[in-house]
Amino acid sequence: MDPDTTTAALWWAVVFSGVYHGVNPGMGWPLAVSAALMERKPSSMLRALTSLSLGHLLAMAAILFPFSALLFLVEWQREIQFAASVLLISLGVYLVINRRHPRFLSRVPPHRLALWSFLAAMAHGAGLMLVPVYLGICRTIDTDAGHAAVFTLMGGNAGIAVAVAVTHTLAMTASGGLIAFGVYRWLGLKFLSKGWFNLDLLWALSLIIVGALSLWTLQW
């Protein structure tokens, strides 16, 4: 694959994973509908969506930034990606075996949506899933990394981390927001129980698959 196609594919993966999170009711869009209905004004939906996005964005950043900091260890890049892949696969396997929802999430009061969104994303490894994609993007750019000064590299990697987190979160907010608005305006809440699928297993498996793919690319 030529580098441009690879880069494009990786960015599409960032967008796609955002949409995947966004449409899943479990990640929060019904709470935006609820907010608008409870307070009888559509602007409350926007506020709720903003809180949910903020929490999600922070969760992405909290995972991606430590990796971008690690990337100055240029000669260890392969090992870092290996470790990230193994971590991802382990979390996936854990979520396949333990299908229970972490109980501390239900202790979060409903008005603290950003906190809830942050914790939910962390607990389900949403940020971790982006790590191999992120590392991949960094590699396509740093082909002549040997010549780059360490600090510019780090700055560049941090910039990419921000771009990945923001792109992913925007995709999530747009797709979740669209559904929330559709349900609020036209579809009605019946859509919630009709259109909600149990993706827990699929989610856990996708963590494993992304981890495995990332391991596979390491052979090149």
Binding site: P30, R103, P110, S193
Partner: protein
């Protein structure tokens, strides 16, 4: 685990009202003297069926002396909030506590006609893990299954206050006590909540020595039963406000919040006002600053009676108190049903304006003095007690026993179990259905009713009706 949300979960009360009507009811049967094991009766309530109004299956427990009272589901419409994190639970198990034994049965009703015991939690486990005893009201909520208790630790349940504990909603393991700060709460009865607004309301009956061997008249006349309601920050597990309804308002029992979570009010029934023997309903509401207030909005007067017509306990009063022992609110938050167990009346109030309820319908049946028979001619023992409303609000079911030892004081002698149904008129009004009468096995009394797929006192909704 389901792949889709359980079809009996509904986002809003309105959607629940539009769902198909119930075809089965689950009714608890108790042996008042503990001579037989208690049981769960599965009752056919499908008018098109050949066995309409009959018990079509029974689950009889392996122990005696449990004394069944209230019960509830393992999961309800509250699971449809992403905050709860368990949207794919099945509504499949009934959690049935024995208030005398403190034993808890988990009954699997996936196939209602083959309903069977799934798990038994022995009393010792309840005592050891919670320090509470005499489990009572069940509600499924954000952290699992919440169980209120009527007793603290020790043999007579007075070692520490009673409270709420939480059961895991999948394994039914006891997770531990709910409260982190109970404030001045020292007694317990019912509880319910508004999930999006994050508050819970709880009420008070009395401590075990005040009820287990019968009502204690001296305690009642000196206002020693519960008369407060408590408001909690649900997820913080903290009592944030206690409202004293006045010491004369003895036994604040059922808590019925509006089902639509955008409404910020609810009701509480008071059994008896010791100054005048009235029964009362309080409306409580949340103010803009987040604090709560309560006001008496319904009073029901006692009826003068000849001492000869009254049981020993009431002879001195020369009147029959209404005894408001249960209340229930329809899913559209329009009608509040009030059981007057002493008078033998079921009242229907239009509570569209919760501060100004209007009596819209009334049925007379049973009663200490009146002893009104059912329209089919049969004798209805005791009075209307535990009431349950169909989701669509068109049918109201009730049974007749209050609590074994109290039944015996207010209605001496064995009067038989009953379960009847009344139809609700297009614009209110309540009429007993002549064709619906459930015959129970000999020696049993009947208590709470649960309807297949949820009813008006089980499900908590997280989204407002539009």
């Amino acid at each position: 685990m389901n792949l889709r949300p359980d079809p009996t979960f509904h986002a809003t009360p309105k959607l629940a009202m539009e769902a198909p009507p119930e075809t089965l009811a689950f009714t608890l049967m108790l042996s008042p003297d503990g001579s037989q094991p208690d049981g769960l009766a599965v009752v056919d309530v499908d008018p098109g069926s050949d066995t309409y109004g009959q018990i079509v299956h029974q689950v009889i427990m392996p122990n005696k002396g449990d004394e069944f009272h209230h019960f509830g589901w393992n999961a309800c419409s509250s699971a449809l909030s992403p905050l709860s994190g368990h949207a794919f639970l099945e509504r499949r198990y009934l959690i049935i506590p024995g208030i005398r034994s403190s034993r808890i049965y988990i009954v699997d009703v996936k196939e209602p006609l083959k309903a069977k015991i799934h798990k038994i939690i022995e009393p010792e486990e309840v005592f050891a893990k919670t320090g509470y005893s005499r489990p009572h009201t069940i509600h499924c909520g954000p952290e699992g299954i919440y169980v209120s208790t009527l007793g603290g630790g020790g043999k007579d349940g007075t070692d520490g206050p009673p409270g709420i504990f939480i059961l895991d909603c999948e394994t039914f393991e006891i997770l531990g006590r709910y409260e982190m700060d109970r404030g001045e709460q020292t007694k317990h009865y019912d509880f319910w909540w508004n999930l999006p607004r994050d508050y819970m309301v709880s009420s008070e009956w009395g401590l075990p020595p005040q009820y287990e061997n019968g009502i204690v008249p001296e305690d009642l006349l000196s206002n020693k039963y519960g008369h407060k309601i408590h408001f909690w920050k649900l997820r913080d597990r903290k009592n944030v406000q206690t409202i004293d309804l006045g010491a004369n308002h003895q036994m604040a029992l059922e808590i019925r919040p509006a089902h639509d979570p955008s409404k910020d009010y609810g009701f509480c029934g008071v059994v008896v006002d010791t100054t005048n023997l009235q029964g009362a309903i309080f409306t409580w509401w949340q103010k803009d600053d987040g604090t709560f207030e309560a006001k008496k909005t319904i009073t029901i007067d006692p009826v003068p009676a000849d001492a000869d017509d009254l049981p020993e306990l009431l002879k001195g009063f020369g009147a029959c108190p209404p005894l408001v022992t249960d209340i229930d609110l329809s899913l559209d938050d329009k009608y509040l049903y009030v059981a007057c167990w002493g008078l033998g009346e079921m009242h229907q109030y239009d509570v569209s304006d919760p501060m100004n309820p209007v009596l819209a319908g009334k049925v007379e049946i049973g009663g200490i003095v009146k002893k009104t028979p059912h329209p089919n001619g049969k004798t209805f023992g005791y009075g209307p007690q535990m009431v349950e409303i169909s989701r669509d609000g068109k049918r109201v079911y009730w049974t007749n026993s209050l609590y074994s030892t109290w039944d015996n004081q207010f209605y001496p002698g064995e009067r038989g179990a009953a379960m009847v149904m009344a139809n609700v008129g297009e614009n209110g009004g309540l009429t007993l259905d002549e064709n619906f009468w459930v015959d129970f096995p000999e020696g049993y009394r009947s208590h709470q009713i649960r309807l297949e797929g949820g009813d008006c006192s089980t499900d908590s909704f997280c989204y407002p009706s539009v």
